[in-house]
Subunit: 242 residues, 2 copies
DNA sequence: CGCACTCTTGATGGTCATCAAGACGGGTGG
DNA sequence: CCACCCGTCTTGATGACCATCAAGAGTGCG
């Protein structure tokens, strides 16, 4: 059930059998949500964190005119709102992009397991810091990349993050969002997303069709994006206490 | 010495006398840096975190063409790189915007005090999550706000964050950066920053002259920015264990 | 079969970038 | 002390990128 989550954690840190058992024991409930449902609204009090088991979710904020900006995409194995453990209420909304299955982890349980296992406290703190690193890369994208390299960068990021949990290979991955949602990630309009997708396709870099991203030239795509996966902190990280 | 830092922490959480003493004891060294020095380079191994005592610093990333994007401004009392405690190496650079005085806190010391005081672990985890919340607001700005409201939003944020440590009132605060650095925060060129500043000045909202921001109409400025300080999590937060 | 939504493409325009040049101001050295 | 120099600020002219408006095609669903 939480295999994606464990795969994600174990890419970077050692998780003992006892720690794994503690994480499994922290889940209070499994829930299913339909697509396009805002499951957490900015400002509301929250008593649990949401672990994404299947599907895609995102964090978004919006302005009064209704312009929506997505700040992060969540893939299976991610906590969508681990940061609510310390923040209690969020400054953004959390939305399902597809039908989703999630596991709820009450903050009280979270507290128990991080007190019992300091390594888990470290690993989960790391995890929220990784979210922040992804935010910074998006700040760079939105501030300094043009539409093409911005979209390329998004596809590169997703390819890596989905590959970690076995949901992407080098050539393709499912990405069941529409062009409107893509635009909301990239700070563009859906019209311009459409044209940018065409350019990427015509340059034989990547195609986005039928809810699937097909990468025709990964190196070329990464070059266009100036993609450096360092911000995703892949591979073994320094352990707690080392 | 770390009074700004304590003020910042105590705005949101209770810090006991013993905890305060532990924080004070964790500082290993005080250093001074000149303006415009990159004190931490992306990718290098780090064994300590840097607490900003005086001056302004920022986090930035850049592209190969040299285009620089600032992701966050640090004000006195902030840790510039508390997240390096779990990340060890950073995905971005840290730069002094002015001459700065900092206190170094070795990660080993940090570990000692958060193990001794779980409340401090919670408070510092919160602190890195607050950085992420600021990143998200910048994502919204860069993705969906135009130049005027983007700049207004930045000034609103800084006014609040500086006021927390007593370095701003409702009317003005020192902000010793140039228009180039402002542009690097806002994803604009310095030329357009110059024109946008003129508009804000002509509308009697805010003026930026002689390294100082003078707010003529705070309500109006906040309206232009659609500024909602909720993302800064002002005021008392839920305590650890409640 | 019809409706609603997304996708696609064209036409036009606005915001912001780029290029350029002069003004201003602070620091330095003769 | 003044001249010079360099970086920043300011403004103008032009253009690129992306938004907006609009309309037809495609697709899935009731």
């Amino acid at each position: 059930m939480i295999e994606y989550h464990l795969a994600r954690l174990r890419l970077r840190h050692d998780i003992s059998a006892a720690e794994e058992a503690a994480i499994r024991g922290a889940v209070s409930e499994v829930r299913d949500y339909p697509a396009d449902r805002t499951i957490i609204h900015a400002g509301e009090q929250i008593g649990h964190s949401t672990l994404l088991l299947e599907g895609l979710m995102c964090r978004y904020k919006d302005l009064r005119g209704g312009e929506r900006q997505i700040a992060e995409i969540h893939v299976p194995g991610d906590f969508a709102d681990l940061h609510s453990y310390t923040l209690k209420r969020l400054d953004h909304n959390i939305l399902t992009l597809t039908a989703c299955r999630v596991a709820l982890v009450p903050h009280a349980k979270l507290r128990e397991i991080i007190e019992a296992f300091p390594n888990l406290a470290f690993v989960y703190w790391f995890s929220t810091n990784l979210d922040a690193a992804i935010h910074r890369e998006w700040v760079l994208s939105l501030g300094r990349r043009n539409a093409m390299s911005r979209m390329a960068a998004l596809f590169c990021e997703l390819q890596v993050r989905l590959a970690i949990v076995g949901l992407a290979d080098e050539n393709s991955f499912e990405f069941p969002v529409d062009q409107i949602e893509l635009a909301e990630c990239l700070g563009l309009t859906s019209v311009h997303v459409n044209r940018t997708l065409r350019q990427l396709r015509e340059q034989n870099l990547v195609a986005f069709r039928d809810k699937r991203v097909t990468v025709h030239n990964l190196d070329g795509l990464r070059r266009v994006a100036e993609f450096d996966p360092a911000y995703l902190y892949l591979g073994r990280q320094s352990a707690y206490g080392s």
